[in-house]
Symmetry: C5
Subunit: 155 residues, 5 copies
């Protein structure tokens, strides 16, 4: 059966991670169905992920962008709880890419973080959907990072 | 079939966003059914949204107003989690407009934020309900803002 | 059919809001059934509300009292999430009256807040249960407050 | 039918509140079944409570002990939300006794708090399970405290 | 019937706790089935635990690693709520091992904490799954710690 991936992104984001992730998934799993769902902001991502799973997606990647204020962080917390609840209720992976505006001082760096994180997590999603629960086991404990260089294993 | 929109607003709010949003939805989708539900405060919005969906709404917009204290922010967090849960359990969009009293120092500015945010999100809701998951895709990553001027795409 | 209201209150509270609310509901809806449920503290209120709804209440009012420490506030947050979940799962209103010990420096003022807030919200509950979703619409955006004087509409 | 009580306690706790609570429940309800469930720490208490209810307990008391750091407090918050969810989903009381290591400077005082709080809440649980929703109503608004002396009613 | 244990670990972690825990479980319960599931980060652990239970695990241990920033701590909070929800919905234990990067200044100490905590909790999981709710009762209130030396019982 054809694998089906969902991409949920936002108009709030300042980088078009959705188009990028589409290409990465296509290149990692050339025959897959890929469906995109664009919503205004991060708090709309959980229902977008839920609806993508409702229409048959085997896994979803969400692409959030979060402002700098405490209220933005509370929205991030509520969204994170929501995305985890979607996964628990459907038993499907929803890989959550979030870029926080205060992760970098200049815009170029922020865009680099977004591209690196979205690319790496798109590959993670494909691995988990295609190969299952041991696809990433050889990297377990290796201190991998998305958006930054890897921290590495201790010792 | 006729589309049906729900509007949930509060008596706590200091701007009548409900009437405004009614007009915006009516002008964006002239034949739609529009139902309004007014509750005391933000913590009553999730059940109002749930009841509007129970009676057949295809999508809901909630119009919250939040005070300045830490306790108000905790109420905002609990409400946000609740609104996301309603969406997850029903697979319907509940677009959440929230105005925080500490977003501006003077009342006039606060009212401008409320009007801009409620108007833009009412249009977002209609787009999502009428045209579905790709209605907003052309704006993905464009840095759109509600209540403020757009941040824009990086680069 | 006779309307049925639930009142959930606590032994932790320093004001007997339950008896007061009973009288207010009785005076606003003279033929209604009114059931009271007393629990130790705020974290017990969600299940009390759930049980009141299980036995047929059309709406519930909870009467919480919260201490001054950060831990008390975390308990308030958990309780708020719980009360919202009860409402989402049952589609019934649970109007939440909470008095925080740090809202006023002297006890007399605190008692005034409790009485005002509980009275106004008891009336809100009866309005919503008796008249439904548009009972409060004429007050939408009017800046109504419970426990304090109204903030009023901007402009 | 014989009443059945559940006691969930932890190996993290520095006071054996479980044995104490067993004796209190036995003395308050001499013919009841009492089942004890010991888990490592507070985050394991919600599932212990759920499993105790699954095997027929009419009510449960959980006996948590929480460290001093911010992370411990986040664990407390997550646990509190979980315990409230168990109650909402089962409509059974789970009375939550929590002792925070920063409630007192010396160990003896901490132990006193634990003993007082656990004893009083064990009695509360028996009252609610045996006599139901009005068992505590005569104490409503009386400012009762567990672990400390009562604050009392205002006026 | 053969007991089945699940291990969920991450590529974010800087110590390979998964392999260690596999050996500990194998040595504590030599005939058991043991299944491992590796995900990118802590927010993916709840669905991994859910999927492990879906395929028949009697209990699961999750092995999380958390960064130093406030956002990492919010992710920890959301994950904790999610792991507790998985347990409530399935009535199965999910023992949560989390190592926070700010628990120690040097990497060697951090690794020691990870090894000690993961080993002790793997033994706790086996005890609970094999022997049930009273397997740990003799240690109730004994102030046991994982990752640190035991605090001990007061008095």
């Amino acid at each position: 059966m054809t694998r089906k991936y969902g991409i949920a992104d936002t108009t709030f984001s300042r980088v078009d991670m959705g188009s990028l992730v589409y290409k990465v998934i296509r290149s990692e799993d050339s025959e897959a169905d890929i469906v995109r769902y664009t919503v205004p902001g991060i708090k709309d991502l959980p229902v977008a992920a839920k609806r993508l799973i409702d229409e048959g997606c085997d896994g979803v990647i969400t692409l959030g962008w979060v402002g700098k204020t405490m209220l933005d962080k509370y929205s991030y917390l509520a969204t994170s709880i929501g995305l985890i609840m979607v996964q628990i209720l459907t038993s499907k992976h929803v890989i959550d890419v979030t870029v926080h505006e205060d992760e970098a001082d200049d815009e170029e760096k922020l865009k680099e973080i977004a591209i690196d994180r979205a690319t790496k997590h798109a590959k993670n999603l494909v691995k988990l959907v295609k190969e299952g629960k041991n696809a990433l086991t050889k990297y377990a404990g290796k201190g991998l990072r998305q958006g930054y260089s890897n921290a590495g294993e201790i010792d």
